[in-house]
C-alpha cells in the first residue's frame, strides 16, 4: 500500500521504532506475566474510515472476538485497540491472579487489564524511543463477544482515515492470541512526522 501520510524514510523509521519498541515491550510484558511473549513484526498501513472495520475483521479472522480500546494522549494522539479472539483471554486469568471463577464482570475486567498492559507497554515503548511523553485514558470495552466484522461500526468512526500499526501477540504454550492495533487520525500525523524526523536525525 502506498503511504500517503508519511514519507518512505519516515515509514522506515516508524517500522524501526516499532520493531525496537515491541522488543522492549515483549520483555516487560514477560516480566509482568512471567511467561515468554511471542510478538510479530509490526505491520504499518493506512486505511480510510470505511476500511477500518474490515481491516480489524481481517486481523481477527473469522468467528467471535472482543475488543478493548484505550486512548493515548500527548504529542502523539490516537487510539489503541486490542482484539481478543473468542475466550482466549480467559487463559490469562491465572497470570494476572484472577480467581478460578471468572464471572462476567471479572472476565471483562481481565480483558481491560490485559489491554492496558499490552497497550501501555507497546505504545509506551514507541513513545520512549521517539522521546515524547504519552498518557493513557482508562481502557474501555469496545465489543464483547461479537462477530469480528462487528467489532467497530463504520458510521461511528470520526476520523477520515488512519495510520494503522498492527502487532500480533501470543504466549508460548497458551491459546491466548491478541492483536494490537494503533490508530492515529490523519490530523495527528504531523506530530508523528516531526517525531520521526527527530528520530532519523539522531541516528
Amino acid at each position: 500500500m502506498t503511504m500517503e501520510f508519511i514519507s518512505d524514510d519516515q515509514r522506515d523509521a516508524l517500522q524501526e521504532v516499532a520493531n525496537i519498541g515491541m522488543g522492549q515491550a515483549g520483555a516487560s510484558i514477560a516480566r509482568v506475566l512471567g511467561e515468554f511473549v511471542e510478538l510479530s513484526v509490526p505491520r504499518i498501513s493506512t486505511v480510510d474510515a470505511a476500511g477500518i472495520p474490515a481491516a480489524l475483521a481481517a486481523l481477527a479472522g473469522d468467528g467471535v472476538a472482543s475488543a478493548v480500546r484505550q486512548a493515548f494522549i500527548g504529542e502523539l494522539r490516537g487510539e489503541a485497540i486490542a482484539i481478543f479472539s473468542e475466550h482466549s483471554a480467559h487463559d490469562l486469568a491465572e497470570l494476572l491472579a484472577y480467581g478460578d471463577a471468572l464471572d462476567a464482570p471479572a472476565g471483562c475486567e481481565l480483558l481491560l487489564d490485559i489491554g492496558n498492559v499490552l497497550v501501555g507497554a507497546c505504545l509506551g515503548g514507541i513513545a520512549g524511543l521517539l522521546r515524547t511523553e504519552i498518557g493513557f485514558s482508562a481502557p474501555s470495552l469496545l465489543a464483547d463477544q461479537v462477530a469480528t466484522s462487528d467489532l467497530i461500526q463504520a458510521e461511528t468512526i470520526a476520523a477520515r482515515c488512519a495510520l494503522l500499526v498492527e502487532v500480533r501477540f501470543g504466549l508460548e504454550k497458551r491459546v491466548f492470541r491478541c492483536h494490537l492495533v494503533m490508530l492515529m487520525p490523519e490530523d495527528a500525523l504531523a506530530a508523528l512526522r516531526r517525531a520521526l524526523d527527530r528520530f532519523i536525525e539522531e541516528f
Binding site: S28, I29, R31, V32, L96, A97, Y98, P105, A106, C108, E109, L112, D113, N116, V117, G120, A121, G124, G135, F136, A138, P139
Partner: protein, 440 residues
C-alpha cells in the same frame, strides 16, 4: 503557582492539596509498605496516616484481593504505566461506607481507582500512587437509569403482547361477525323453508292417501272388465290401459311418493342442521354432543364434500361436553372444508376420516385427509391470521386462526401432523368441563 517564591512554600502547598483534596490518595512501595495516606483515605477508612505510614497495606486491609492487587501494582512498577479499576466491573477496592447513612442507596462507596507510577529522579518507579475517586452518586444515577430502562422495556413487551392479542381479537371479531350473519341468514332461510315444507309435506300425505284410494278403486274395477259386453268400450279401455302403461303407473306411483317423502325428510334434516349449526340464539355455554355436532356440520358442507371425497367415520362414545356448540361446529366446518380443499383431485376421490375419542377428562376430534400435505412453511404459519395457500380472493386466511382462537377459548389445543403428499391430520382436544381445564 506563579506567585510562589520559595520551592519550600510550593511543596507545602502541594502537600496541603494532596492532604485536603476530595480524592483518596495513597502510595505504596514495592513491598506494599504505605508511604502516603491522605485525609480522604483516613476519614473513610477510619485509619489515620500515622497508623498507616510504614505499615504493610495488605496487613492493614486483609480484605483486599491481595494476589490480584499485587499483580496490578507489579505491572505499574514494571511498565511504568497507569493501571485502572472501574466501579462498573469492580464496585470498590477499599470497603468504605457510602455517604448516605440516612437516605440510603448503596452499601459501599463505588470507586474508580487509578494507579500511577511515581518515579525517582533516576527514572525508576519507586512508588505506586493510588487515586480513589468516589463514584457512588454516578452509580446510583446509573442504577436508577437501568431500572427505568428495564421498566420501560417490560412495559414495551407487555404492550407488544397486548397488540398481538388485540390483533387476534379483531380478527376473530371480523370472522365471528361474518359467521354470525351467515348464521342468521341460514336460520332465516331455514325458517322460511320450514313453512312451505310443512304444507308440501301435509299435502303429500293427503296425496298419498288419495292415490292409494284411487289405486284401490282401479284394482276393484279391474276384475269387472270381464263382464263388459260392449266390445267397443272394452277395446277403448284396453287401448287406454296400454297407452297409459297402467301397470307401470300403478307400480311407480307409490315409489314416486315414497321418494318424495324421503326427499322431504332430507330437506327437513338439512333445515334442522342449518338451525343447529347456526345456533343463532345460543351463545351460552352448554353441554352438547360432539358427535352430533360433527354430523350436522358434515351435512351442512356435504355439497362441498360429496363429489371429492368419501367420508370414513370412526366415532367413539363421548360424554356431553361443556362448550359453545355453534363455535365448535365452526371449527369442524373449517377443518372439513380445508381437508377437502387439500385433496389432490388428480388422484381421484380422496378420503376424509373423521374420528372422535375420549381420554380422561378430555375429548378429541380428528379430521384426517389423504391430500397434498403441507410444507414446513405452511405448517409453521397455518394458524397465522391472513395466511392462506389459496389463490387471492378464494380464502380469507382467517378460518384456521379463528378455529385456533375458538379452541383456545375452550382451553383446548389443536395438534397438527402433516407430511407432503401424505396428507394432514388435525386433532382438536377440548376438556369435558371448562372448570377443570388443565393440560392432560
Amino acid at each position: 503557582m506563579t506567585s510562589l517564591s520559595h520551592p519550600g512554600e510550593s511543596c507545602a502547598l502541594l502537600g496541603s492539596l494532596v492532604e485536603r483534596i476530595d480524592v483518596g490518595i495513597f502510595a505504596v512501595d514495592r513491598t506494599g509498605t504505605v508511604a502516603l495516606w491522605n485525609r480522604f483515605m483516613a476519614v473513610h477508612s477510619g485509619k489515620s496516616s500515622s497508623e498507616m505510614l510504614g505499615q504493610n497495606l495488605f496487613a492493614m486491609f486483609p480484605e483486599l484481593p491481595r494476589p490480584w492487587l499485587e499483580k496490578k501494582l507489579e505491572s505499574v512498577f514494571v511498565l511504568g504505566n497507569n493501571a485502572f479499576t472501574l466501579w462498573e466491573l469492580r464496585p470498590y477496592l477499599f470497603r468504605f461506607p457510602h455517604n448516605r447513612p440516612i437516605t440510603g442507596g448503596l452499601d459501599t462507596m463505588r470507586q474508580n481507582v487509578t494507579f500511577l507510577p511515581l518515579r525517582t529522579p533516576g527514572g525508576e518507579v519507586s512508588l505506586v500512587c493510588g487515586t480513589v475517586f468516589d463514584y457512588t452518586e454516578t452509580a446510583l444515577a446509573q442504577h436508577s437509569l437501568h431500572d427505568a430502562i428495564a421498566a420501560l422495556n417490560k412495559e414495551k413487551d407487555a404492550q407488544a403482547q397486548l397488540i398481538v392479542k388485540l390483533e387476534a381479537a379483531q380478527n376473530q371479531l371480523l370472522q365471528s361477525e361474518k359467521m354470525a350473519s351467515i348464521g342468521q341468514l341460514a336460520a332465516g332461510v331455514a325458517h322460511e323453508i320450514n313453512n312451505p315444507i310443512g304444507f308440501v309435506n301435509s299435502n303429500l300425505q293427503t296425496l298419498k292417501k288419495y292415490c292409494e284410494q284411487m289405486l284401490q278403486l282401479i284394482s276393484t274395477y279391474e276384475p269387472t272388465e270381464a263382464q263388459i259386453t260392449d266390445s267397443g268400450l272394452l277395446s277403448r279401455i284396453s287401448n287406454l290401459k296400454q297407452a297409459l302403461d297402467i301397470e307401470f303407473l300403478q307400480e311407480d306411483l307409490p315409489a314416486l311418493i315414497k321418494e318424495s317423502e324421503e326427499g322431504l325428510v332430507r330437506i327437513k334434516k338439512i333445515v334442522e342442521d342449518l338451525k343447529d349449526f347456526s345456533h343463532v340464539n345460543e351463545s351460552e355455554w352448554q353441554y352438547a354432543d360432539i358427535n352430533a355436532g360433527l354430523d350436522s356440520t358434515l351435512n351442512v358442507v356435504w355439497n362441498e364434500v360429496k363429489y371429492k371425497a368419501t367420508v370414513d367415520k370412526h366415532y367413539g362414545e363421548l360424554p356431553a361436553i361443556e362448550c359453545l356448540a355453534a363455535q365448535l361446529n365452526q371449527v369442524f366446518m373449517n377443518l372439513i372444508v380445508n381437508a377437502v380443499q387439500a385433496l389432490d383431485e388428480s388422484k381421484g376421490m380422496g378420503t376424509i376420516t373423521l374420528s372422535t375419542g375420549h381420554q380422561d377428562e378430555w375429548v378429541w376430534v380428528e379430521v384426517r385427509d389423504n391430500g397434498r400435505g403441507m410444507s414446513d412453511e405452511t405448517r409453521r404459519r397455518v394458524f397465522e391470521p391472513f395466511f392462506t395457500t389459496k389463490p387471492v380472493g378464494k380464502g380469507t386466511g382467517l378460518g384456521m386462526s379463528v378455529s385456533y382462537n375458538i379452541v383456545q377459548k375452550h382451553h383446548g389445543r389443536i395438534e397438527l401432523t402433516t407430511a407432503p403428499d401424505e396428507g394432514s391430520c388435525f386433532r382438536v382436544w377440548v376438556p369435558v368441563k371448562q372448570a377443570q381445564a388443565a393440560a392432560p
